[in-house]
Every structure is written in C-alpha cells, then in structure tokens.
C-alpha cells in the first residue's frame, strides 16, 4: 500500500517537472529538518482560482483572471485564457469575486510579549536594573529582537487574517530604542509565520516599561536618542580596539541595526517632525513614521520632511453632546479632529506624503477596512488606498518580491472579496495566507430572498423572505391577512424555521436546493407530530435595483461633501451688514486649537497715528507720534511721518487711529514654561545639559494667543529648576500659526538653565529623594566644579585628538589603526560652550549665599553668568552682581512659597535696577505672563522706579538679557516690528492690548478676536449638530462621554513623568 503511493507521487513529479522545480521557500512545505510523526505531506496539488476579477496591483486589473497557488506561492497569474497549470490542481470557480493582494501592516505588535508600563518611582533609580552586559538605560533596548520573542499563539493571527492582513512588521513596542522588527505572516506556526527575522530597526520617544527615572520628558528622550547614536558611532570604532571600557551588547546591537529600514513610532505630527529632525542628524533620511492620525493638520510640513507615513484609522468616536454644559468639556480642536480625522490620508496624499495604512491603535483589527474605506470616502483615490495597503508597505520593507501584488513568485497572499474592495457593501469572502485559506463567507452565498409557497400538513402558506446573507428575515401569512414574524436561520444548506401557527408553533428543518428554488425537509407541529414539508419559490425579490440606486446617490455626495457641507452651513449664517464674510473655521486651522485661523497670517504695512509712543530708547515717550511698520520691521517712529517718502512706491499702509492709545514694544518674557510638550524638567540627574527645550516646543498652545492678547511677543522657554545644571532653553517669537521649529529665533544665542537651592537639593520631593547628590548647597557647588572641570578636560581631549590625527600616518588611519576619536558627549559639549562663552546661563536662584557662590565658580572658571532668574535675594548682593556683570530677571512680588524665599521683597527689582543691574520681570506662570505690563507697574509701586524704566523691565531689559536687543525690545527703526497698541497707559490696570504685532504680523487684534469668538461658536454649533445627526438614534450624538481635559501648566518645579 505504502509503496504504491510513493510510486504514484514520483510519477506525478516527473510529469510536472516544470512547475515542481519552483523553489519551495514559503509556508506549506514541511521543514525537512523536523522528524515527522506520521506521513509526509508532499504538497503536490496546486490551487487554481479562476475566472475572478484579478487586482494584480493598484493599477493592473484583469477582468477574467486566474491565479495558480502552489506551496505557499503564486506560481502563475494572468487572464484566464492564458494561464494554464500542467500539474494536479484543485480548481475553484471565482466568478463574480475579486482577488486582491493581502494587506501589509508596518506597525504591529503581533506575537510580541505584553509591555507593562511602570510609574514614577518614589526613590531614584539612576541605572538600569536589567541583568547582563547591556547599556545604562532601560529605555534603550536595541538588543531586543522581535524574531527571537515571536509567539503567534492565541487568537490574534486569525483576527489579523480575517481583517485582511497577509503580513505584518511586528516589534516589541517598548522603549526609546526598541530593537529589530520582524516581518511575519498571521499564521499559527512560528516557523511558517516568520518571513523576515531582521527586517527593521525601531525607535520612539516613549520610555515604556523602564522603571529608571531618566528620561522623564520628551526632550530627555530626544537627547537620549541622539546620545545613543553618538555612542554607537564611537563604540563601533573603539570596541574592536579594546578601548570601549568593556562589552556593551546594547551598543553592539545598535550598530548592527544601522542598515535596516528605520521605523520611528512617532505619534502626533509634531513628534513626526521632531523624530525626522533627530534621524536626519544621523543620516536617516526617509524613515517610516507611525503617525497618530493628526498629520493632516500640517500635511505640507510633514510632506517637506520626506518621511514615509504609516497612518492609523482609529478615528475618534463622536461625543455625547446632549448636555450643553458637559459638551463644553470638549475642545473645538477635539470636535474638529472628530470630523477631519478620516480625511487624514486624503490630505496627506494630496500633499505628496508616501502612505501606508496600519491597524495600530485599533482594539479590533476587524474595523480596519472600514477605516480605510472612510479615507477613500473622504477623497483618497482608490488606487492610492490599495497601494497604501499592499505594494507601498511591501516596498518599504524591501519585500516586493514576496508581498504586495498578485504576481508569479509572490507569496500566495490573496484576499477574496465579493465586490470592489472599497465598496461599503463588499464582504471579505476568504483570505489565503501563504496558500492557506481562512474562509469567512460562502463564495456564492445562497440568496433566500423571495416569496415561497410552503406546503406543510397538506396546507399551503405564503412565506416572505427578505434581507441579505447572514441577516435573513421572514414573515408568514396564516389564514388571516396579518403578517407574523417567522424565525429563520440558515446554516450552510440547512434552513430552520419556527412558524407561529394558530394552534401553536411549528418547527421545521430542511435543506435548500437548486439555488433556493426548493426547500425540503421535515418538522414537528406543536403537538409533537412529525410531518414532511416543502417550499417552492415564486419569484425573485424585485427591489435589488432600488437599493443600488440609493447606493450611487450616497456615494456621489461625499467626495467633497464632508467639508464643503460644513462650509455651506457657515456661509449661510447671517452676515452682518457692512462687514466682510465671517471667518470660516470649518477646515484645518493654524494652529489647530482654539483661536486658530483658516489662513496663515502675513506681515502688514501699518501706520499707527497720533499715539503716545513709549520708545524704550533715548527718545523716551513721544506724544502724538506715529509708528510705521513695513516688511516685518519698524520703518519709522516720529511725528507726522510722511509715508510716501518712507514706503516703496505703490505700497500703502493701513492706518490705525492711535489717538488716546499707547504704543510700546512687544512684551518679552525672560522666563516661561508655556508651549512645551511632555515635560519641562529632565530633573532626573544633577546635570541634564544635553537636553534642549527646542526639541519639545508646542506651537499649538493656546496660551501663546492668550499672552499675545496681553501684548507678549517673545519669550524664553526655560528648562525647569529640578537640577543644578538644567537643560538648554529655547527663545521663541509668538508667531501664531507657525510650526514649532518656526517659532524659534534663528540667530538667537543659545542659553541654558541652571538652578540653585531647594529644588536642586530635592528638598520638597518626599523622603524617597534623600540619596541623590546633591542634597545640600555645599554639594551644589561641587556639582558645578566637577562638571566644568570635566568639560574643560573634555575640550582638551578633543584638541589632543585633533593633534594626534594631524600627526598620524594616513595609512594607519585608513587601516583603522589611527587615533580613536573621543566619545562625543552632548552634556559636556554644552558645558564646554559655556566655558567658551558661546552659550549663556540663566540661573534660577533665591538666596544671596548661593548667588555669590555661583559667581565665584564662574569667575574662577573664566566665564560670566548672564542672568540670575527669580533672584529674589538679588537686592542683598546687587553690588556684586553688577560687578560680575550678571543681569536679574525677577518676580515682581512673589514670596512665601518656599523657605528660601522668606526674605524676598517686592522692592528687589528697584534695588537691582538702581545698583546698575540690567533688571527684568518675568512670569514663570502662564497666567501672570499675560499681565506682565501690570507686573512692570509694581517696579514703580514698590521702590518708585520711573515708569519709563519700569516698562523696560518687560521690554528692552529682557531683550538685553537674551542678547536680542539688536532685534527687538524697543521701538527703533530697523528692529523687528514687535509692537503693541494699548487702550491706556501701559502700566495701568486699565490697559488692554488692542493689537499685537509680531514682526509686522498682526497676531492679535481685538476686533478679529471678537470675530473669532463668533466663528468658533458657529463652528462648534455646526459640529455639534453634525455629531448629533450622526448618532441621532441614540439621542445623544456619539458614545464618548465628555471628559475635561487638564492642560499642563508648568512652573519651574513641575516634575512629571509623562513621556511613557
């Protein structure tokens, strides 16, 4: 018996030589290294899917096409007429069905161990707890290999297959450096499933499961990524020469992953831009980025980076808007995002961003296809959608030869549907993954719809069946004319009916024959007697055409309808006579938050006439003067300006009547913590000189607008004060609507935050934080000496290396025997800049002893401290500060919140100023910042600083402290047009900013503000109505209960761990 079979097989092989020679790489061929329990399965018989609509790829469709699958691969594909298969094959008729390449997801955690996040620890953890020769930080895990931990057991594989995925790039989604990813098929056997074990190298900004303190912030994570790149570069050179101080498996793995496709799990569009900047710095130019679905908010900026975007389809659900009080909890940006999120793909595509879809973020991958369909509905061309599901991700992974199209040689990953993929009514029928089918529906489901004559118990009854496969409904007319509901279920070919007859229910079971023209079987009446029955269909249900027509109507509307519908609503709102059309906020607004505008603002040519002008220059306060703004600059300040002479020909200025108004320079806040994402302190080490606030700037913070409404145009975003050597700060202009990096002042000199006193001693962090150095003011001094001495030696080592390179033989260098470059240390680089006076220090300080100490430290190391911020005891050492050349940026009147501010006095500003210290008042507070003009008044109230000088506390003096006084801070022709028009004396409690110009751009205008409020109200109303209409049946709108969003308002001492 056995012998016969073997012979038979051999015979077949001989006959089919041509097709059998194909190399059996994929699944479905047994692994010969494994012993077999039983008999070998030879996989000799192919599968032929014939007469289907074959979507070979996004652009090639064959109407009557045939596909031959064998041993997990496609061995032939083409028009049915031309494709033949010589060997034994099972032929499946696919008439009426569509075949598509299976979907590919580049961002999955399929088969990966679950990641447990850990919280902020009550005691410090400085180093990694991981056992083994790994790196110092638990969030850097390049040694993690998805392939090594891959375990596909469980229900997930089937769920992925049923969602249409034929392959996914999976990785352990944990940490800042996450290790290598693997391309796997959603199959249960890991060896069959694992297609490409080392397919990609993964990163993110999120700390994940690490219980270590560092990094606690977004900027810390950024610095850690940069330093790790640098460390790997150094390790690759130093380690082979035995100069790396030991073996570091993490860095080795990092070096090994460098040539793999880079995937960065970014998130919001801001994180996409941030990640791109970091990767570009290290030569990675077109990474694959995971978005969060909001990239449409800045599609152009994302396109400009050249990144490839993996975009999710987990659009937000609607909110319950039934209670108008509770509906206030939902921000306009959240409402707008609900409406616009499905247009993400269309808008990104239109901007030229290469796209792939991912099921990331979906609880149920089954919802994936509908999400993609919504994207198509919102204007993404179907071809592009298909590409983004198949060939694009395949190409990104370098697996075009295996995935993404239905061509010979590819894996037999075939998705069978009963209609065009993006049609809402289309079902997935079956899914072949590596040649193994997962059935989901009958290929040719029985159509039961129609009216039947049922013969049972010698009577004939009329049965009406409606609905669609899987959802049949039946009713029954018995003796009288009233319809009765009949329960009907169909399981394969067996139909079961329960009929409510007059004398009790009749239960019938039978079989469906001849495409449902005849049903036949037996049943029991209510008294238990058996009886045969049959049903014969009279006619085909006639209403098919009608439903199709409805379909068409539904489909044609939305193409542009979704957003234009909104626009119509808004434009139909009553237009007040004599004004321009109201602002329409229904599209994307810049920034994407409250008070965002539909267009980017542009610089104006403006002349403010006849105002009281506070120049903050030698000219003092000018009465009845004009201020001319042109091309972003102050063109002229003076009495009766002749615009024709001052402006280029053809340029006219908008005039603002300044009578009764006061004009001042834009207010500058030397110390703020607004406009930062995910943490203002990387206070997890005594020094965090390597971090830069500029990496975490948030351009969408409504506080910028609120402060523009208080006349503020410029601010220094400082790192917090949790450690003696804090992070690098960012000086921004409040360019409302610009992207984060465009808020930064390009040519500003760099600054860093230092801090002294209670915060850096961790005095108020709880008893767990009594072990980390420093705990005393004595220790703080030593932190500085130690770090600066190291920085100086670091600089020395670099010089020595350069000299050694000069002296080394070319040949030695070429052959890798040249001098090893010292490790680039971002922290010491920064400190070295301070020693070289290329970077300035703003130091958080309260007590005079430590202020004095730090000036001695700086003097002895040969640099100058630029600014002491807070400096509440500055009045005690104002003479020493003046002598050292340090400025002071103080609170006007804060005290009593810490022991070290016990001696703070509101006269501090006046004393400092009078002793010749350049003095400013700052906010450190999102609320107070919008009233800095009032704070300046306190310099007059407490200590009688003349009002002109007091105003400089928040204009020219902070500009001087920030080394930007050549550009801003006073009304001097040639400077940036950062100008505020006030309703009253600028130091008065009655003063309101009416216009605030930033570089000639009217970023705040009291009239436009009023219009914006109206437009926001209209837009909220429109979206609320739409949400309500969408969920009308519920009577509430959407399902999501409104929840109040807590904005993070940071201060110096805000410690968070929110970057997980």
């Amino acid at each position: 018996m056995r012998m016969t079979q073997r012979l038979l097989s051999l015979g077949t092989l001989m006959v089919g030589f041509g097709w059998a020679s194909f190399s059996p790489v994929g699944a479905q061929t047994p692994d010969p290294t494994f012993p077999v329990n039983g008999t070998y399965h030879k996989a000799l018989v192919a599968t032929v899917l014939e007469h289907a609509t074959l979507h070979v790829d996004a652009t090639t469709t064959i109407e009557d096409g045939t596909l031959v699958l064998h041993r997990g691969r496609i061995v032939a594909a083409g028009p049915s007429a031309t494709v033949s298969h010589p060997g034994p094959a099972v032929r499946l008729d696919m008439t009426g069905l569509h075949l598509y390449p299976s979907f590919v997801d580049v961002h999955s955690d399929f088969g990966m161990p679950e990641v447990q996040e850990s919280g902020w620890s009550r005691t410090p953890q400085d180093l990694s707890d991981k056992k083994g020769a790994y790196g110092w930080n638990e969030a850097v895990r390049p040694e993690t290999s998805a392939a090594l931990v891959f375990d596909p057991s469980g229900d997930k594989a089937k769920a992925l297959r049923e969602a249409g995925f034929g392959a996914v790039l999976t990785h352990v989604q944990d940490g800042v450096v996450r290790g290598t990813g693997a391309v796997v098929l959603p199959l249960d056997d890991p060896r069959e499933a694992l297609l490409a074990p080392n397919a990609s190298f993964h990163m993110s900004f999120r700390k994940g499961s690490s219980s270590q303190n560092y990094p606690s912030s977004l900027m810390g994570a950024t610095a850690l990524l940069r330093q790790t790149h640098l460390d790997a570069r150094w390790y690759a050179e130093a380690s082979p020469r035995g100069m790396a101080g030991g073996t570091n498996l993490s860095l080795e793995a990092f070096v090994g992953g460098q040539d793999l496709p880079r995937v960065f799990s970014a998130g919001s569009w801001k994180d996409v831009l941030r990640a791109d900047a970091v990767l570009k710095e290290f030569g990675v130019s077109t990474p694959i980025m995971l978005g969060s679905g909001d990239a449409y908010q800045r599609a152009e900026a994302v396109a400009a980076t050249g990144v490839r975007m993996a975009i999710p389809v987990n659009y937000p659900e609607g909110y319950d808007v039934s209670d108008p009080h509770l509906a206030r909890l939902i921000g306009l940006d959240e409402l707008k995002h609900w409406e616009l999120a499905p247009s993400n793909a269309a808008r990104l595509h239109a901007a030229g961003v290469p796209l792939a879809f991912t099921a990331h973020g979906l609880k149920d991958p089954g919802a994936f296809l509908n999400g993609v369909r919504k994207a198509v509905e919102e204007g993404l061309p179907e071809q592009e959608a298909l590409r983004a599901l198949t060939s694009t991700p395949a190409a990104w992974l370098g697996l075009e030869a295996d995935l993404g199209s239905l061509r010979a040689g590819r894996l037999a990953n075939v998705l069978v549907t009963d209609g065009p993929l993006f049609d809402k009514k289309t079902h997935l029928v079956e899914h072949w993954v590596a040649g193994q089918a997962t059935p989901m529906r009958d290929r040719a489901p029985l159509d039961l719809a129609g009216s039947y004559n049922v013969n049972v118990n010698d009577s004939v009854y009329a049965l009406e069946v409606t609905g669609e496969p899987g959802k049949w409904k039946a009713s029954w007319a018995l003796n009288d004319t009233s319809d009765r509901k009949v329960s009907l279920t169909l399981d394969n070919r067996t139909v079961v009916l329960r009929i409510p007859a007059d004398d009790g229910p009749i239960r019938l079971t039978g079989n469906v024959w001849m495409e449902s023209r005849i049903w036949e079987g037996s049943g029991q009446t209510s008294d238990g007697r058996w009886s045969d029955w049959s049903a014969i269909r009279n006619e085909v249900a006639p209403d098919a055409d009608v439903s199709e027509a409805e379909d068409v109507a539904e489909k044609s509307a939305p193409e542009s309808g979704k957003t234009s519908a909104g626009k119509t609503d808004a434009s139909e709102a009553p237009v007040p006579s004599g004004t321009a059309a109201p602002l329409d906020l229904s599209g994307v607004v810049y920034p994407f938050t409250a008070y965002g505008l539909p267009e980017r603002l542009e610089a104006e040519t403006v002349c403010i006439r006849d105002a009281t002008v506070w120049t903050c220059e030698d000219e003092g306060v000018l009465e009845g003067a004009d201020v001319l703004i042109h091309d972003g600059r102050l063109a002229a300040v003076g009495i009766d300006l002749d615009l024709a002479a001052l402006l280029p020909a053809g340029v006219t200025a908008t005039e603002i009547d300044g009578r009764g108004k006061h004009v001042t320079p834009g207010v500058i806040d030397e110390h703020t913590h607004i406009a930062v994402d995910r943490g203002v302190n990387e206070g997890t080490q005594a020094s965090s000189a390597e971090v830069w606030i500029g990496h975490a700037v948030d351009s969408e913070d409504v506080n910028m607008y609120r402060q523009l409404a208080g006349g503020v145009t410029c601010a220094q975003i400082l790192h917090g004060s949790a450690n003696p050597i804090g992070g690098q700060s960012a000086i921004i202009k409040f360019r409302w609507g610009a992207e984060p990096q465009d808020l930064l002042l390009d040519d500003a000199v760099p600054f860093i935050k230092f801090a002294l006193g209670e915060n850096v001693k961790q005095s108020n962090w709880g008893d767990g934080y009594r072990t980390r150095f420093p705990q005393t003011r004595m220790g703080v001094e030593q932190v500085y000496y130690d770090h600066f001495i190291r920085a100086r030696e670091y600089g020395q080592a670099q010089l020595e290396h350069r000299a050694a390179m000069r002296d080394a033989k070319r040949k030695d260098i070429r052959e890798g025997r040249g001098p090893v470059a010292p490790r680039v240390d971002l922290e010491l680089e920064t400190l070295l800049q301070i020693l070289n006076e290329e970077r300035f220090v703003t130091c958080h300080s309260y007590r005079q002893d430590e202020i004095n100490m730090l000036m001695h430290v700086a003097d002895s190391l040969g640099f100058r401290l630029n600014t002491f911020t807070h400096i509440l005891e500055g009045y005690k050492v104002a003479d020493k500060m003046a002598e050292h050349g340090a400025g002071g940026s103080s609170f006007s009147d804060w005290w009593a919140y810490k022991y070290e501010v016990k001696d703070a006095i509101p006269y501090n500003g006046a004393v400092l100023h009078n002793q010749g210290v350049v003095t400013a008042f700052n906010s450190d507070d999102a609320e107070m910042a919008r009233r800095l003009n009032q704070e300046a008044a306190k310099a007059y109230k407490y200590g009688r600083v003349p009002e002109e000088e007091a105003l400089k506390f928040v204009t020219l003096n902070p500009a001087k402290l920030l080394h930007i006084d050549h550009k801003t801070g006073s009304l001097k022709p040639g400077k940036d047009a950062d100008v505020v028009v006030w309703s009253d004396h600028p130091l008065s409690i009655n003063a309101k900013a009416e216009q605030t110009f930033v570089e000639g751009v009217r970023c705040f205008d009291v009239d436009r503000d009023r219009e914006l409020r109206d437009a926001m109200r209209v837009e909220r109303a429109r979206l609320t109505a739409k949400m309500y209409a969408d969920g009308e049946s519920s009577g509430r709108g959407g399902k999501t209960r409104p929840s109040e969003r807590i904005e993070s308002h940071y201060h110096c001492d805000t410690l968070t761990d929110e970057n997980r």
Binding site: N703, Y875, S988
Partner: protein, 447 residues
C-alpha cells in the same frame, strides 16, 4: 489737636529709627486702642454703598464711625485729630474671602501648614483658632488696603468652618470679627477628567452618585441631630453643623462647574439651608438665574486666572464679575488660585481688572467691601463707611485698584491707627543702607 503732618512726622521718626537699627524683625505692634477721635477731611470717599462722596468728611471715635458727610458741613471741633486727606481716596477696609492667610506661612514647609486637617467630614474643625496673628504675611497685605480676611480651611469634603478676622491683633481672639461664619463643602466633580495626552485620568475615586449620597447622608444626619432635643451624648461633628439649619452660618460650596452648581442649589432647597454661597463659581454666569432666584451669592475665583477651557473668551475670567453683577448676583472677589497667602495683597488689583472689564468703579469696590461683608454676615459691622459701622478704613494717595496709584498713607482697624510697615519694607531699608541709597518707600505726605 494734632495735625496730619504731626502724625506723619511721628510715623517717619519711627521709620527712621528703625532704618538705622533694625537687626531683628518683629511684626508691627498692634495699634493702640483708639483714645483720640479722628476726622478725615477732603478725601474722595468710596462708601461701599455704591456711592462716592467728593471732598468728604469721615469721623470716628471709640472704634466706630460717627460721621459721614461733606467737609464743609462737619463740626471739626468735635475731633481730637484732623487728617487732611485732600486729593486722596478713602475706602472701607477691603475684605479678602476664602484665604489661608495666617494658616500657612511657607508653602513648601510642612511645619508651617495648618489648613489641611485629616478626614472627609470635619465641620467641627475651626480655622480661626489657628490664625497666627504673628504671621509675617498679613502686614504685607494690609499695606495695600486689605484689612480683613475670611480664614478658611482646605481639603476633605467638609473642610471645616471659617472665621473672619481683622489683620491686626495680639492674638486670634482679639483679631476675630466672627469666630465661625460658615461651613465649607467641596462639591465633588460630576464628570471625568483626562490629561492632555488623552490617557484617562480618573479624578473620582468613587462615583459621583456615591459621593453625593454620602454628603446628603451626612447633612441629613446633622439636620436630624439639630432638630432633636439635646440628649446626653454629643457628636461634635453634628454640633459643628448646627448653625447651618438656623441661618446663623453660611454654607460655602466650593466648585467651578455649572452642573455641580445646580446640584448644590437643589441641595440647598432640599435641606432648607438658608444661606449659601458658591466659592469659585467660574461657571456661575451660565446658571445665574438659578442662583439669583435661590438667593445664592458667589465668591468668585481669582479674577487673574486663566480661562477654564481653551475655547473660552480669552478675557472671560476678567469679565466674570461684570457678567454676574449684571445678573443681579452678590459677588465678592477672592484669591484662591495660587499662592493665596502672598497674593492676598493683590486683591485690589483683581477688582481693578474687573473694572477695566466692565464693572463701575463703585461696583468693583463693593466686590471687596459690602458684598463680602454681606455674604459673611458681618455687614452690620463692616464693609461700608456709614455711621455706626466699625472704623476699619484706609486712605490711599490715588486709585487703590490700580497698581500705579495704590499707595496707602493711613489705615485704621477698629479705629486703631495701624503701622503700615512690614518685614519687606524693613529689609528694603536695611539694604538701602548697605548701598547708601535713598529710601523711596512711603510716599511723601500730601504732595
């Protein structure tokens, strides 16, 4: 009869003495009992009644105001001392409500904190007895015209009772205007909250319904206890609540949210509580009719605060006093958002902002004087410049609601002239001495 110039000269002599010799600091000595009657002449008087009197005369003796009228009508001979206040502004002492002044000295030093007691329901806890008259902060507050405060405990669901004090006295007993003016209830949130990142951060440990039930049960028990004849056993918590049910105490409900406010008003009606004020009340403008019809006042959150929602009008916190007063509500201002103690001295400027955003000058002043006095139940004693009222008042060189011009020349508490010096002024003088610099502190008299 001592003239104003004499008085001031005396003051300066004291200051000058201090400037040279200050090495240790002590809080200003409480003012001496009023022994000489005083007549203030020529000031612009903001009476707190809504009226303003130009060139007015206000006289007081034995700690009580006995004359309010025009300068040319008063009989000057009846007064021992005349203060020439022409060009100056006269105000009733400002009242800061819902403050922890005197309960907390330094935010970061636990040993100096006395506002948070342990427990959920603790109406028997009295803040007034922990009011530290030797705190260094009130002297810096009264320098700007804030002369009285409602000292309020924090935390829990029922935090305890507040009391009202003058910012001058040898101990809390001397300082107290009323030992217990009301009970403070923190209304739980009716909705969820989440952080910016979208991760849900459940702020409610129990469901709202459960918390509300516990509040109702606690108040219900207290009411039943109060209604019953006194037995042999005493529950001090219920004793603390007694006054709520006979109208002698006010129930202060701390919440910002519209829904919670409406819930609190229902609660008031169900329990038949006579006096209620909402503390915070950011959303009160949305339910103003309900509040007015139920006679509920509002002690409004800091005017100098950020809008609650990004979509709110940028200046909404500034104009809330106007929105509420336009609805006919009784509104007092307070300083609850951050650094309540030290910021209490900025209370006048909150009123200044409220004026810039719609209130009339006298309305703004009432929000610091008559209105809080009414809510606290002490308007028979303070809050206005009227005959028979306590002589707690001050003179400022200019508009006291504007930082530029708020500059006190005199202040009296219960007729006692108080020392406007404070530790901060002393430190200023000390270090001006170090630099040999001019002391530009107290304004020149009558310039």
């Amino acid at each position: 009869m001592k003239t104003a110039k004499n008085l001031l000269r005396t003051a300066y002599a004291v200051v000058a003495l201090g400037a040279g010799s200050v090495t240790a600091w002590a809080q200003p000595t409480p003012g001496a009992e009023q022994s000489r009657s005083v007549l203030i002449l020529g000031a612009t008087a903001h009476l707190g009644t809504g009226d303003v009197l130009e060139d007015c005369a206000v006289g007081f003796r034995d700690g009580k105001i006995d004359y309010v009228g025009r300068s040319f009508q008063v009989n000057r001979q009846k007064y021992d001392d005349i203060v020439d206040a022409s060009g100056q502004h006269l105000y009733p002492g400002f009242i800061v409500t819902n403050t922890t002044l005197g309960l907390q000295e330094i935010g970061a030093v636990r040993a100096t904190q006395d506002q948070y007691e342990v427990g959920t329901f603790r109406p028997n806890v009295r803040s007034v007895i922990a009011f530290n008259t030797d705190s260094e902060i009130p002297p810096t507050v009264r320098t700007n015209g804030v002369l009285m405060g409602q000292i309020t405990p924090r935390g829990g669901v029922v935090s305890g009772s507040s009391g009202v004090v003058h910012f001058d006295g040898w101990n809390w007993e001397d300082a107290a205007i009323v030992m217990v003016d009301g009970i403070h209830l923190n209304w739980p949130s009716t909705h969820h909250r989440h952080n910016k990142d979208g991760k849900i951060d459940i702020q409610r440990r129990k469901t709202y319904d459960q918390q509300k039930h516990e509040i109702e049960r606690f108040f219900g028990e207290a009411q039943a206890y109060a209604a019953a004849p006194r037995g042999s056993l005493t529950d001090v918590r219920h004793e603390g609540m007694r006054g709520l049910f006979d109208g002698s105490l006010c129930l202060y409900v701390h919440t910002e949210d519209a829904r919670a406010i409406t819930e609190a008003v229902h609660f008031k009606r169900e329990l038949g509580i006579e006096r209620m004020a909402i503390v915070g009340g950011y959303d009160a403008y949305l339910v103003a009719d309900l509040l007015r019809e139920n006679d509920v006042a509002v002690m409004l959150q800091s005017v100098h605060s950020l809008p609650r929602f990004a979509d709110d009008d940028v200046d909404l916190p500034f104009k809330l006093p106007k929105l509420l007063m336009d609805e006919g509500l009784t509104v007092a201002l307070q300083v609850d958002k951050s650094m309540t103690e030290m910021n209490s001295r900025n209370l006048p400027f909150y009123a200044g902002t409220a004026r810039a955003y719609g209130l009339t000058e006298e309305q703004a002043i009432q929000a610091l004087t008559r209105n809080p006095a009414r809510i606290l139940g002490i308007d028979d004693q303070v809050g206005t410049l009227e005959r028979g009222k306590t002589a707690t008042l001050f003179l400022s060189e200019g508009d006291a609601l504007d930082i530029r011009t708020n500059s006190l020349t005199y202040a009296w508490i219960e007729g006692r002239e108080i020392d406007l010096d404070n530790r901060q002024r002393q430190l200023y003088r000390k270090y001006q001495t170090k630099y040999g610099a001019e002391i530009l502190d107290l304004p020149a008299p009558n310039n």
